[in-house]
């Protein structure tokens, strides 16, 4: 890709001349900008690399590139305090009850698809799963989840269009408990974080579920094509429902999803899963090294 070339050139320029000039460092920063890391994170990481290159007296292009990779992986792998967060998805039953997962996010990011894929993973692992179609607004949203339920072999609890999403979520969890299911996954309607009425509704969905069960995971689905608005989305969703993990979807395209770097840093919420396609098996754990390699175009 173009960005990779820019970066490759600049590092080679550095090593040929012995020192990296301002333009070359700008190219390094540009690579990060083009991956949607944002102006702040891109500048910070470039500065860090610069310091390390000077400190370690790096002299060959292979080591310099390896150094950048390491600096980036560290930025992606750890939280702001330097700790490695827990990226496991809490989807196993506990205390004789099913685990409960809530899937949230803005419109069209891949919530329903992710819910279906997650069900598939769990069912393939021998678990019984109940899906709650708490998107009662979007045209045919419940039908879409139903199709996923059939694909995955999961029970779907749904209501007629326009029904109260909180009560559908409540019913799904109750069904999970009475059926002795291992997990209940609740799909919610897409909503822009700026719509306070819809965000309040989401808070209510969570509170109503909590009347009878603990919510084990609240997964915020972010689309990898999203730019700087992703951070704003994450911030508001985290405020309203206490997000426990990010699912970064559509990484099978050309978008790098770099905004999650800022999201993890600012909110301390780890990316747990990635979406790599529209098929039932296109869901994978988030791996910082693979993410960075894709970002650098390796």
């Amino acid at each position: 890709s173009r960005s990779q070339n820019a970066f490759g050139r600049s590092l080679l320029g550095l090593l040929g001349a012995g020192t990296l000039d301002e333009d070359s460092w700008t190219d390094v920063e540009d690579t990060l900008l083009m991956a949607d890391l944002g102006a702040g994170a891109a500048a910070e990481i470039t500065q860090k690399l610069r310091t390390e290159v000077a400190r370690q007296g790096v002299t060959d292009s292979v080591s310099a590139r390896a150094l950048l990779r390491r600096v980036l992986i560290e930025a992606v792998e750890t939280d702001a305090q330097g700790n490695i967060p827990d990226r496991t998805v809490k989807a196993l039953p506990h205390d004789g009850r099913p685990s409960v997962l809530l899937v949230v996010g803005v419109n069209g990011t891949g919530k329903t698809t992710t819910t279906g894929k997650l069900a598939r993973v769990l069912v393939a692992d021998g678990r019984s799963v109940v899906l709650g179609a708490a998107d009662t607004f979007r045209a045919a949203a419940a039908d879409q989840l139903q199709t996923w339920g059939e694909r995955a072999g999961a029970t779907v609890v749904r209501a007629e269009a326009g029904a109260d999403p909180a009560s559908v979520a409540f019913d799904a969890v109750r069904r999970g408990i009475t059926d002795g299911a291992d997990a209940v996954l609740i799909d919610t309607a897409g909503r822009l974080h700026t719509k306070t009425g819809l965000m309040d509704e989401l808070g209510k969905v969570k509170r109503v579920i909590e009347k009878q069960a603990v919510v084990d995971e609240i997964l915020l689905v972010l689309d990898a094509t999203t730019g700087q608005n992703g951070l704003v989305q994450a911030r508001v969703f985290a405020e309203v429902v206490d997000v426990t993990g990010i699912v970064l979807t559509k990484l099978d395209g050309t978008a790098k999803g770099g905004i999650v770097v800022a999201v993890q840093r600012a909110l301390g919420v780890p990316v747990k899963l990635v979406g790599l396609g529209e098929g039932p098996d296109d869901l994978a754990p988030f791996e910082p090294a693979a993410f960075v390699d894709a970002l650098l175009g390796d």
Binding site: G108, N229, G253, T254
Partner: protein
């Protein structure tokens, strides 16, 4: 969350103001702030570069004896450049000489195509047309059902001979959709297609095949206003793979600055025609370049600043 350009420039301008003319150092300092603001608005980096170069050139050449102070000069230049790129001729839909007029929708997954199909249908129906929606997304689970519901909400007919969910040939549906429209005297056909990635060569070819089957008067590229730097890759891939005659920006009811509007316009030269501003079918408007310019960089505040200065 982010500073607007006016916030950013306020600091720079507090030192600039009153000096009477722009020094090269002033121009550099201003250009740096504009660059960051553009990046935070998700304008694609190559477009930012071109834009900054143009601003610098004009600012350097700016008439120092003009009535405006340096701050006002920069604001005016930025505003003019933005509106210039975004605007140009705002174009109306092209209608076929011999109906039906065919409008094909294309874009990434989840961009808002199916919803837009309903919005366009409702809008055109309101103008006395008799649109037909054609369900060519046979891939996404229940995309066909979704289009049927949307059609019902818009009060228009939906041609959906295949169940979808992986069953049926979208190109065949597209072709018979046109025949159906002719026989039932629909004067407009709106073809909904599956979401696809720019890198998916097979699906891009399918889109080109659908295009060839329906010979559209308009191909609208539907783009989520929240998109980041990938807007360039994606727009280019759709321009090359299927081609488009107009752009529709969706989800403008959020708070994304929508710098992609600038990127796509600059990279492809294709005009942005419509704005999608909500989930309801009536949340739809023609595109206003001046509003978009204000939105991307907080120019609204800046223009007031000019008036105050």
């Amino acid at each position: 969350m982010f500073d607007t350009l006016s916030d950013r420039l306020a600091t720079v301008f507090s030192t600039l103001r009153g000096k009477g003319r722009l020094t090269p150092a002033d121009i550099d300092a201003t250009a740096r702030e504009i660059r960051i603001a553009l990046l935070e608005a998700d304008v694609a980096l190559p477009v930012v570069r071109t834009f900054i170069a143009a601003i610098k050139e004009r600012a350097t050449a700016a008439d120092v004896s003009a009535a405006l102070n340096p701050a006002q000069q920069v604001i005016k230049i930025v505003n003019e450049e933005l509106v210039d790129i975004l605007g140009g001729e705002t174009r109306r839909l092209v209608f076929a000489k011999n109906p039906p007029t065919v409008i094909m929708l294309a874009g990434l997954q989840g961009a808002g195509k199916t919803t837009l199909a309903g919005k366009l249908a409702l809008w055109l129906r309101g103008q006395g047309h008799a649109p037909l929606l054609v369900a060519c997304d046979l891939q996404r689970p229940n995309a066909v059902t979704q289009l049927q519901v949307v059609g019902e909400q818009a009060g228009v007919a939906v041609f959906a001979p295949e169940p979808g969910n992986g069953v049926g040939d979208p190109v065949g549906v597209a072709k018979s959709g046109i025949e159906f429209a002719k026989s039932k005297l629909h004067d407009i056909v709106i073809v909904d297609t599956a979401g696809r990635l720019g890198v998916d060569a097979e699906l891009m070819q399918q889109a080109a095949d659908i295009r060839d089957a329906v010979d559209p008067n308009e191909i609208l590229f539907v783009l989520d206003a929240m998109i980041g730097q990938d807007a360039v890759n994606t727009a280019q891939a759709f321009a090359d793979g299927v081609g488009f005659t107009g752009v529709v920006l969706t989800k403008l009811d959020g708070d994304a600055r929508g710098g992609a509007a600038l990127s796509v316009r600059q990279i492809t030269g294709v005009p942005i025609m419509f704005a999608s501003t909500g989930e309801k079918l009536a949340d739809f408007d023609t595109f206003h370049p001046d509003r978009m310019a204000s939105r991307i960089l907080g120019m609204g505040d800046m223009l007031t600043l000019i008036e105050q200065a």
